[in-house]
Symmetry: D2
Subunit: 282 residues, 4 copies
Amino acid sequence: MSTATLRLSCPIRTGISARVTAFTADRDCIIEEAQQFSDRRTGRFFMRLVFDPQANDIGSLREAFASIAENFEMEWDLREPGWVPKVVLMVSAFDHCLGDLLYRMRIGEINMEVPAIISNHPREKLTTSLIGDIPYHHLPITKDTKPKQEAEVRRIVKETGADLVVLARYMQIFSDEMSKHLSGMCINIHHSFLPGFKGAKPYHQAYKRGVKMIGATSHYVTDDLDEGPIIAQDVENVSHTESPDDLVAKGRDVERRVLAKAVRAHLEDRVFLNGDRTVVFE
Amino acid sequence: MSTATLRLSCPIRTGISARVTAFTADRDCIIEEAQQFSDRRTGRFFMRLVFDPQANDIGSLREAFASIAENFEMEWDLREPGWVPKVVLMVSAFDHCLGDLLYRMRIGEINMEVPAIISNHPREKLTTSLIGDIPYHHLPITKDTKPKQEAEVRRIVKETGADLVVLARYMQIFSDEMSKHLSGMCINIHHSFLPGFKGAKPYHQAYKRGVKMIGATSHYVTDDLDEGPIIAQDVENVSHTESPDDLVAKGRDVERRVLAKAVRAHLEDRVFLNGDRTVVFE
Amino acid sequence: MSTATLRLSCPIRTGISARVTAFTADRDCIIEEAQQFSDRRTGRFFMRLVFDPQANDIGSLREAFASIAENFEMEWDLREPGWVPKVVLMVSAFDHCLGDLLYRMRIGEINMEVPAIISNHPREKLTTSLIGDIPYHHLPITKDTKPKQEAEVRRIVKETGADLVVLARYMQIFSDEMSKHLSGMCINIHHSFLPGFKGAKPYHQAYKRGVKMIGATSHYVTDDLDEGPIIAQDVENVSHTESPDDLVAKGRDVERRVLAKAVRAHLEDRVFLNGDRTVVFE
Amino acid sequence: MSTATLRLSCPIRTGISARVTAFTADRDCIIEEAQQFSDRRTGRFFMRLVFDPQANDIGSLREAFASIAENFEMEWDLREPGWVPKVVLMVSAFDHCLGDLLYRMRIGEINMEVPAIISNHPREKLTTSLIGDIPYHHLPITKDTKPKQEAEVRRIVKETGADLVVLARYMQIFSDEMSKHLSGMCINIHHSFLPGFKGAKPYHQAYKRGVKMIGATSHYVTDDLDEGPIIAQDVENVSHTESPDDLVAKGRDVERRVLAKAVRAHLEDRVFLNGDRTVVFE
C-alpha cells in the first residue's frame, strides 16, 4: 500500500471539501477514494480521503494540514502509507472469532499485527492453532481479582502501543472504569441482533422468544452494556426445528463475519463516531 | 386444487405418524406433502399432510379420523379440496400491505376471499385502488368510542364468517378483550425486527439506536403487545446516510413481503402455535 | 425537494473534485450529498453532488459550469430543484412490476410522472387498477407489425418527452434499431440472476438446473440481449419442494423490488455507465 | 448421539411412509425427525427418519428392513448411533475452506474424521495450522503425471475407507474417469453462483460482467464440469468500488460457509440425488 488516508470530522460549514481537495490538488496528490457525509441532525461533517501522496512527505503534509484542521475545528488523522495498526485480541474459550481474525491477518485480508492475545482461559483450552508465537497472556479473573486483572490488561495495551482492542467473544463485562479507559478504541461482538437480547445467553433468549432470524452485532464498547455505537450487523434464518445449541452453532458464522467486517472497517479508517451512532464508509 | 389438508398437533407418543399414514394409505389417499415435528421441550407433536383424497368423501374421512384424533388427544382440522378461506383486512391510511395482499389474491398467489375491509380512515384516504367492490367499512375510533368500534369489528368478523383477521398496518392497539376474542385468528405486521423496537415509531427508534439493518415481524395478536408468537421476519441493510423517512420507505418493502408470507403460510395450514413460539412448515 | 443535483463523469485527472467543490463553495451552495469514484481500469472519474443552490439561479449555474465541464471533458447534467422526470412504462399482461412502480409513484417514494403506459395487451387483461387516467396505449405486436409497432412506441416516447423508458416485464424483444434508439434511457427487468438463465422461461431453466436461489436483474437495454450493464440484482432462497410455478410466484417479489431499486437509482442520478458496467452511488 | 438415521428413496407408491413408520412403531423406536418429499416429475419418493432405536440392535433392524426395502425397490442406508463418517479433504494453496472445515470438526460442529488431506502443494504453503497429525499427502500434478496422481488419490480414498471426498478449493480438474469413480461421494465448491461464470477465474468474470452480487456453489462432482447437482448456494452484495481482488476476498467467506453447509448436510444424510437436481432436507 502506497496510499495515505486522511480522516476528519468537523462542524458542517460551507467549503470544507473544497478546502480539503484544494489542499491535495495543490500538492499534486492523486485521490484514489473519497467519501463524505453531512449529518444535518448532529451538525457534523465526515470525510475520508485515500490518496497517493506522490513526492510529498507525510510529516510535511501533516504540518501543512494542521492549520486547515484548526480553522475548521476538525478531529482528524493522517495515516502514512504502509501503516500497520497494532491490535490486542481478547478471548474466552470460544475462539472461533479469534481464529478467524488471525487467519484473515495471515492471508493479508486484514492489515494488522497482533502484539498480544489476552484470555481468562489457558491457551490449551483454545482450539485454533494459528496463535503461533504471538504472546499469549493468561489472565484469569474472579470477582475479587477483577480490578487487578483489568489493570494488567491496561498495562499490556499500553506497553504494546495497541491502536485497537478487540473483544473476540471475551465474555467478561468490563468495569465502567475500564470501558471509559478504552473508549473509542475497543470493539466487541455481541451474539444477538441488538437491541434485541442484551445480556447473557442471547441465543437462549432468542430461542425462547421464537424469532425466525438470529444475528450478531459489532459495536464500540461503552460503559452502558450492549448499548455502544453499532458498526456492523448481520442475520441468518432459523426455524422451529433448531435448538438453542443449533442457534449457537449457526451464530458462530454470523459472529465471525460481522466482527471481521467491523474490525476491518475500523482499521481502514472507515468508521466515525457520530453521537450514539456511527458513520461507516463502505 | 384437488387436495385436502390434514393438520394436527398432540402430545408426543410412539406411533402417531404410523397411525395417521396408515389411515390415509388404507383409504388409497395419495400423500403429496407431509411434514412433522416433535418438540421435546413442550412435549408436542405437529403434523401436516396434503393428500389427494381420491374417491373418498371428506365428510366420511372426518368422521373416520375423529376416533384416531380422540385417542391421541389431537387438535386437528381437515380442509376439503377447493376450500377458500375468508379473510377480513384491517388497515389505516398506510395501505401498502393492503394493496399487496389484494394484488396477490387477485393473481391467485394467495388463496383467499376478502368479505370486508375495515379502516379507521375513509376509503378516499387510501392509495391502492384494488378494493373494487369489496365492502369497505369506515369505522373511526377515539378513546371514547373504542369499545363500540371494537364491538362493530367483532360483529363484521362474525357475520362474514371470517377465518382470519389481518392487521395490515392497522395502527390501533386492540383492547385486551378484543385480543383475546381474536386469539389465534389474527395476524399483525409490526414494523421492526422484534423484540427490538416495540411500540410506537419503531423506525425512529431504529434510527436513534443506529442499527445497520431494519426489519419487520409478523406475529399472532395476543393481549401482550408486540409479544405474540412470531410467524415470519425479514430485514434490509441500512446505512448512516438514511433518515428515519428513508427507513420508513425501505421498511414498506420488508413489511409487505413478511406479512404476505405469514398470511399465506397461515392460510395453507403451515403454522401451529407451540406455546409462545410457532412451528412453520415451509 | 429544494436541492439541485450535478452529475458528471470525465477522464481521471488531478484536481477535478477540488475544481467542482470550489465552484459550489464560491457560490455559497451547500453540499448535502457527494459521492465520487475513480476507476483506474477505465480511466474514468464519476461524481454526483446534491446541493442547496441558495440564491443561485440554475440557468446561471449551468452557464458558469459549462466552461469547467469543457475543460475537463465532462459528460454532465445539472438537475434543477423540483425536477420531475417523465417515465414511459411498457408492460405485458404480467403487471406486478407496473403496479408496484405506480404505487411507489403515488405515495411519493419514486419521484416521476408517467405520461404513457404501453402494452401489447389490452388494459382489461391487467390486474392492477392504479393506472387511473394515465394514457394507456394498446399496441399489439406480431412478427410482421413489429417495425411499425416499434415506430409507434418511439413516437410516443418522443411526443411525451420521456426521460426514461422502463420495460416492466414487457416480454418483447426489441429490434437492434430500437435498442440503439433507446440506448442509455431504457431499463429492463430480467427474471433471473444474470448471467445465468438468459432468454426465455428463466424460472423453468432455474428449476431444471436445480439452483438453490433464484434472482432478478435490472439492466440497461442494449442490442445484445440480456447483456446490458447491470444496475441492481437480488435473490431469494428456493428449495427442492418448489415447482417452476412456485419459482415464478416467488420471483415476482424479487423482480418488483429490483426493478424499483434500479428505476429509483437512475431517476435520482445515481447510475453511470462505465463501459459494460455501471457505477451506482447508493 | 444415540439416534439412528434411515434414509431411502424409491418410486412413488401409496403406503410407503405408512409402511416405514409402522416398521419403527412396531419396534417401539421413537422418531425424532422425519422428512419426506414426493417428486411428481421424476416419480421418486424421498424419506429421512432420525430415531431412537431403544432396545433394538441396528444389525437386526437392517435385516428386518431389507425385505421392505426390496418390496418398494428402495435405495437406502441405515446409520447406526455414533457413526463417524470418514472424509478425505483435497486442497490447493488456498486453504480457507480447509481450515474452516477442520475447525468445525474440532469444535464438534461437523461430525467427521479426516483420515487424509491431499494437496498438490507442500504443507508449508498452507496457512492454517489445524492440520495437526492428520496424514498430509503432497501429490504434485502435471499434465503428464495426472493419471498416476489420480490413481494415487484413489488408492488413498480406498485405503482410508473414505465415505466422502471434499474438494476444498482443490483447483484441479478431475479426468472423466476420476469423476465417475467418485460419483455421488465427492463434493466441490465452485467460486461463483452457478450456472454463471463456469470455469476458471470466476471472480474476474464476475467483475467484467459487472454483477452486483457474487456467490458460491457447492455441488456433487460429475464428469460434466461445473454442471453437477447443486447442494447449496449463497451470495454477497458487491459494488462498483470493488476490484477483482476484493471479490476474491469477499468470496472466501461465502465459499467456506456454503461448502461447510453442503458437507454437513451430506454427512447428516440430508442430501439425495434426484436426476440432475438434489433434495436437501433442512
